[in-house]
Amino acid sequence: MPQSAEKTKDHVSLFKEPEYTEMFAAKKAQFECRPTDEAVAAQAEYTKTWDYREKNFARTKAVINPAKACQPLGAVFAAAGFEETMPYVHGSQGCVAYFRSHLARHFKEAAACVSDSMTEDAAVFGGQANLVEGLQNTHALYKPKMIAVSTTCMAEVIGDDLSAFIGTAKEKESVPADFPVPFAHTPSFVGSHTTGYDNMIKGILNYFWDREKGELKAGKINGKINIIPGFDGYAVANNREIKRYLDTMGVDYTFLSDVSDVYDTPSDGTYRMYDGGTKLDDARDAINAKATIALQQYCSDKSLEYIGAKGQPTTAFHYPMGVGGTDALLMKISELSGKPIPDSIEKERGRLVDAMADSQAYLHGKKVAVFGDPDFVHGMAAFLLEMGCEPTHCLSTNGGKDWATKMEALFATSQFGANCKAWAGKDLWHMRSLLFTEPTDLLIGSSYGKYLEKDTGIPLIRLTFPIFDRHHHHRFPTLGYQGALRVLVEILDRIFEMTDAASDISFDLTR
């Protein structure tokens, strides 16, 4: 008998016991009607070929293992970053179960969000009654300071009008007339979660700046700088790291959506449904800031356009990682605020460069495949080039032509970019073909990359959302010089582990 109370075997080892392997073999032989082992082996080999790659890249409709999610996920994430705000999704309820699970699995935190549970009758008559009732219930039960409404594709297909519905709900006293209910239409069939993030940030600003008290214009400058971090699985640590720099420099700032506390609450006996986040008054006052900086342009295009139209200067980065990325961000902050970059930060920079110099021989010429959101891939590739690595295959399912052009321009800045290519709109089944036909030394992406690692044997480094199968990575930053140092160490560790694993004679004690 394979099982015992003393040495309890679970799924990791139990099914390797002969009682099970023999059972699997019998099931397969007698009942499954599977293809022959030869046919399976032949097809597996065929999928590694250039011929299969061409066939794979010729598809125009089938999407297989994409690395992107849909708009309302981003909207929920953005809304959660405001003070005591309940994200509210108008439409089918299953979507909300998915968003909450998805965020909880990554952050290892509860993700509060409500749905107004539209069903068949709402599909016929529209969802106004659901919204009127839903806002009232959410307000009574969860006592938020703001309810931020986004939509599922069901509500979008039937054409529900959020502005009118929310107006009706307020007339019917679901919530007080002055209670903030910003909204964003977030159809899942347009863009991705990054688009939804952008739409919700814009929706919230639009509420405070144009709807709450009529159309506002920027008033007396409050001296602050607004930061829009964008959809970032590492936001918990990265937002704190950026704030540390701003505090060190003495720059006054407002983060527009800051999930660092709500997705990283302490265990002390109390469940906090809300914690931290952008103060609503700070969001109101953000119209009077000196400038707005977006850390991820593809998460912020429409928001920046809106802010710009209010007369405020804006600037955007592509997830500024590494030495150059951090340099550029700090210099921009310095330029906008008039505050110099202090020696203490310059020393941090020096320590990062020191570490890169110490380890450069192990990084030089390493080929790396990268996938993720367009800003992440850009920032990651830029840092890889700084380390002397070659970001050979850069793939973004939600990246467009504009992104690909920017990536090509980035490659052109370095000799290490000579053999690199950007793959816009492609998925991880495409990546599989790329890795089999033109293998790299490493793969950088999210947990979804683990299937590629298993198939191709190329080690995966998890550095972007979602990370489900490793714990707590997101609690440490990837941005700033400290974040870059941590990313550097993760890459080096994998390289050293690979070297040790492949070594026999050269199993050196010192490397």
Partner: protein, 485 residues
Amino acid sequence: MSLDYTNDTAAAEALIKEVLDQYPEKSGKRRARHLGVAKPTEEEGATSCGVKSNIKSIPGVMTIRGCAYAGSKGVVWGPVKDMLHISHGPVGCGQYSWSQRRNYFNGTVGIDSFVTMQVTSDFQERDIVFGGDKNLDIMIDELDGLFPLNKGISIQSECPIGLIGDDIEAVAKKKHKETGKTIVPVRCEGFRGVSQSLGHHIANDAIRDWVFDKGTPEFESTPYDVNLIADYNIGGDAWPSRKLLEEMGLRVIGMWSGDATLAEMARAPKAKLNLIHCYRSMNYICRHMEEKYGISWVEYNFFGPTQIAASLRKIAAQFDETIQANAEKVIAKHQGLVDAVVAKYKARLDGKTVMLYVGGLRPRHVTNAYEDLGMRIVGTGYEFGHNDDYQRTGHYVKEGTLIYDDATGYELEKFIERIRPDLVGSGIKEKYATQKMGVPFRQMHSWDYSGPYHGYDGFAIFARDMDMAINSPVWDKFKAPWKAA
């Protein structure tokens, strides 16, 4: 090994009132029908859990429920391993459900098995405007070309499909003609019904309409042929179950749908008996097979030794004396393991209280497994149960047990805060809020990435996991020492 205890009815009733008082009046009235306390009945050992169920969730209250798509693609169809399952519509549904149910299987991913892949038509605005049928047609050809060893393709409808009037059935028929493969259109749009539950039903109907009687592989029957129905092989659950059935001399000709192939589904009507694990999600197809092919069905429960032994005997009773004798042998063979597990863990778990809030069958089926370890169930409820689930629950829970149907986030938080059980068993959405309160938690959908929990092999793991959750040293660290009273 049945434990004898009752819970505090008056306290449970007071708690329900306290929670309902927080709702706006109309919503409070609606929620009141879903909350109750198990009452004694005339039948010995049974209680009555008479709450309303399978009714629309109230808007804005934070229901835990999912949708019909989750019930069809996520539960019933997704695990069928040698078919490609298209999440037909926008990208999100397939993305969030990608590899999230731990339906274990043997096979080569992307070659002859496709369970851990996310295949989607990734609808864009033009698909909403012009319809998605043409692209679906092209997509099926592309998939068949890239994955030629697939045995079939299912089309799992997301919300827009039914709203824009696509005719996926026509596409399925056309593609079946062209490719010769089984193509199954499933109308599981997320807005249909009130929860996952209708998705199960629709998925069952799709098996009936698009798989059965379409030609089965050659097959020689024996008098001992059974189907193992509605075990999704979470963490490998169905395998220790299958092992027990085979040990008692039965032949499992089809396993649904964990580790299933299309052939195992198509062949099912040839069985002598259907053994159903998750009643909620597949009773429909069992009833159909009973009506059409005269196959009777038996519900069983392989959680914990008390229920395993009872179920093995119940199943054996459907067959001859040889099988019945074999069942006794199987039970006897495992008694040593059971005794060792109970000896090891009961002292550590005796008298500990448990609240459950799960889906399908687990809110009742796991209760005796806890009781086998000396633990007590103080509250339980279903996300998407029906009346017949609550009727069955009465045979499991004791008087005074708090019963909650389609509980909201607010209700669960308050119930847990007030009752402060020693363990909560629920899902990922509930896990972290519960743990923050200092209450130990196990995910009882995914087994918290452990398992299997079924059968005797699984019981040892179940006991180990409950012990490690409850007796972890971390719960003592919540209060900073300078604040400890």
